[in-house]
């Protein structure tokens, strides 16, 4: 028997990872999930596609006639490719910091709550109200009513680990 190539081992590992992430959302244990949750699954696997890229990815795994559900069978090969090709890599801390600095044009080291809300809900791929509220609940220092973004990034990274 030929020894498994590194690619085969990697594929096998990714398969297990993807299946587990999928199963958490597969409430009826019938290898399907609600299409609205597929973004969370993809992102929870460490990928950071934009909303546009996510949209394309969903189109790829959806049935020809969309049912509102995604089947594992279709999702598994597509997602395995994504992971193998290391597409949609996570955003490094310095890139994130730089993005905040761009928005903080006066270089004050913070954004006011109003500025943050305006940028996040009016520019780019705007946040929903729920996303915005959730971000604010951890980002805004209630005393100054602003976000000290450097501290915020450090805190978020620590929280997750």
């Amino acid at each position: 028997m030929a020894p498994a190539t590194s690619r085969e081992t990697a594929v096998a590992e990714f398969h297990k990872k993807i299946k587990e992430a999928f199963e958490v959302f597969d409430h009826e244990s019938n290898n399907t999930v609600d299409v609205r949750e597929i973004g969370t699954i993809i992102r929870s696997l460490g990928c950071c596609p934009s909303e546009g890229e996510l949209h394309d990815l969903i189109a790829e795994v959806e049935e020809e006639e969309p049912t509102g559900y995604i089947r594992l069978e279709k999702f598994l090969p597509v997602m395995t490719e994504v992971l193998l090709e290391r597409r949609y890599r996570p955003i490094p801390e310095d890139v994130l910091l730089h993005a905040f600095e761009v928005l903080d044009s006066a270089k004050r080291g913070f954004l006011t709550k109003e500025e943050l809300v305006k940028y996040m809900t009016e520019e780019g791929e705007p946040f929903s109200q729920e996303e915005m509220e959730e971000m604010l609940s951890a980002a805004i220092d209630p005393e100054s009513n602003s976000i000290q973004y450097k501290d915020y990034i450090t805190m978020m990274v620590i929280d997750e680990n």
């Binding site: 992430a21 199963e23 019938n30 993005a99 520019e123 609940s137």
Partner: protein, 643 residues
Amino acid sequence: MGCSCSSVADDGSKQVIRAATIIQNWYRGYRARLKARQRCALTIFRSIEYADEQGQMQLSNFFSFMFENYAKAREKDPNLVTQLFGSSFPDTYEEEDYTKMINVPDSYNGPRLQFPLTFNDIEILIEGFKEQKILHPHYVLAVLHEAKKVLMKMPNVSHIRTLPYNEITVCGDLHGKLEDLLLIFYKNGLPSDDIPYVFNGDFVDRGKNSIEILMILLVSLLVYPKDLRLNRGNHEDILMNMRYGFTKEIMQKYKLYGREILKVLEEVYTWLPIATIIDNEILIMHGGLSMSTDLNLLHRLERHKMKSVLMPPVQSDEDTTADVRSKIGGQKGKTTLSQHEWKQVIDILWSDPRSKRGCYPNKSRGGGCYFGPDVTAKILSKYQMKFLIRSHECKPDGYEICHDGKVITVFSASNYYEEGSNRGAYVKLGRYSAPRFFQYQVTNSTCPRPLHQRVSTIEGSAIRILKERMVSRKTDLVRTFELHDCSKSGKLSLSQWALSMESVLELNLPWRSLSVHLVNRDKDGKVEYMSSFQDVQIKKPVKEAHSSLIETLYRYRSDLQIIFNVIDTDHSGLISMEEFRDMWKLFKTHYGVHVDDIQVDELANQMDLNKDGSIDFNEFLKAFHVVHKFDTLHKSDTLAFQE
């Protein structure tokens, strides 16, 4: 010039858009990882909840088994048989007189009710409960007796109509969570002839204010019998309460009159209607449907004969048992429902909808069935119903719509598993409008806690109960781990470990992602499987006992407690050594538990602390609990009624 200016501005705005996109993108990733962890925690809660329910349902087989063996062996102990299958209800009038004899002393400072009850009493009751007052047992019993009389006059399936400009509010499971009920009333108004309500079962168990909820609902029913409907849920069952907390709550709050309250309560349960129909087109019941659901039969069966899901009717052609039962029942006719009728009721109280077509047994709960969209369509069209409202399942958003909009699940206990685990919801139905949903979440803090804090709390307590599960199966787990660990290194590959966990615990969970919280892994990624047990152990009430026996007792402690309570016909909390041994033998045989009789004998002798030949099993079983090493002790702050 103007041209280049605008291109600088363009560059600037492009940069802003790119920066915003990066931040949004990063945040969405962060949020998704937290959401996945939150879901994973909910999966743990749900799997363990259902596995536990399965255990509870298996008790019914045990009771049948026990009836055949134990009763015969003990010369058909009539008390036992009465307790299990017969009508255990003594004369109601005597009980009511008894209630009148309980005096409410002048020193009592809780809510005082005035019969006949009025709207004012609902308010008084709620005000008292907000101040954490305990309702006097005299009032509790009086309300139960009055409610029983009203409920007895109601049909199995009660009908209610919307008025042109009056919506009906439907609430799902409350599970003893008073704050949720009060929040609903605050948002939606107290029950009245203008604000009709249907409460769709599972008022009690799990939360710490089941009696308060039940009292508010029953008093409201007595004041507005035409405008309020209460459906029976699968927790309106005296034997379910023994496992899920309501019995304990009553005994803690009403030490002296607890038994009496439980007795009347059992009757009240059996008289609760099992379904409600709005405007002849909206069907409301606690669980759901099955392929054989027959509304006509459900209309006419004698619902008060449905005592408990754990007491299924014994096959009537089994001569001996039928004989004994008819003798004990002392009544003409049957004292229980037929098998078919019984199953009809179980199905509507226990079933869950699924997207798969067809109808198949509800394996994860062990009772009722799963029903597909085709079953829904068939049954609803057969009875010309537009849609079904059911409860019974916790949903992250408090409600969920499935089966092409024909099934609505509404669940009203927010934070059901843990603070932040789910929202609660209620639904309002008007004659000319589509159902309107209202969501809420009870919270102690004024501002919402950040997502990661909420997730950490939920995750922490999910891991905690999972570890308790693991330690209760430690012997079997270690045996399985060692079997696969051929080199005796104390380590397994992640996959092998995950497989072993799955096969022993019989829980379908994402073990690989959970491994971070459950075991240590070495630098090569191998799992050091014994590390799971470093910080948890079962506290042994008796030092000398063998650990496999301790694990078995811990694992089955809820089952054993119910069984002992059922045999303990005089409610003394004591059983004789002989009864204990007999019961244990039956239990062992039935559950296929391998424990040495000598060990059990030793244990029984040790349990008999004062050497009087009897065992206080409640105290004994309470002594078994898992100790988490790095825990601060929880202070229990239960109030008791001063009698």
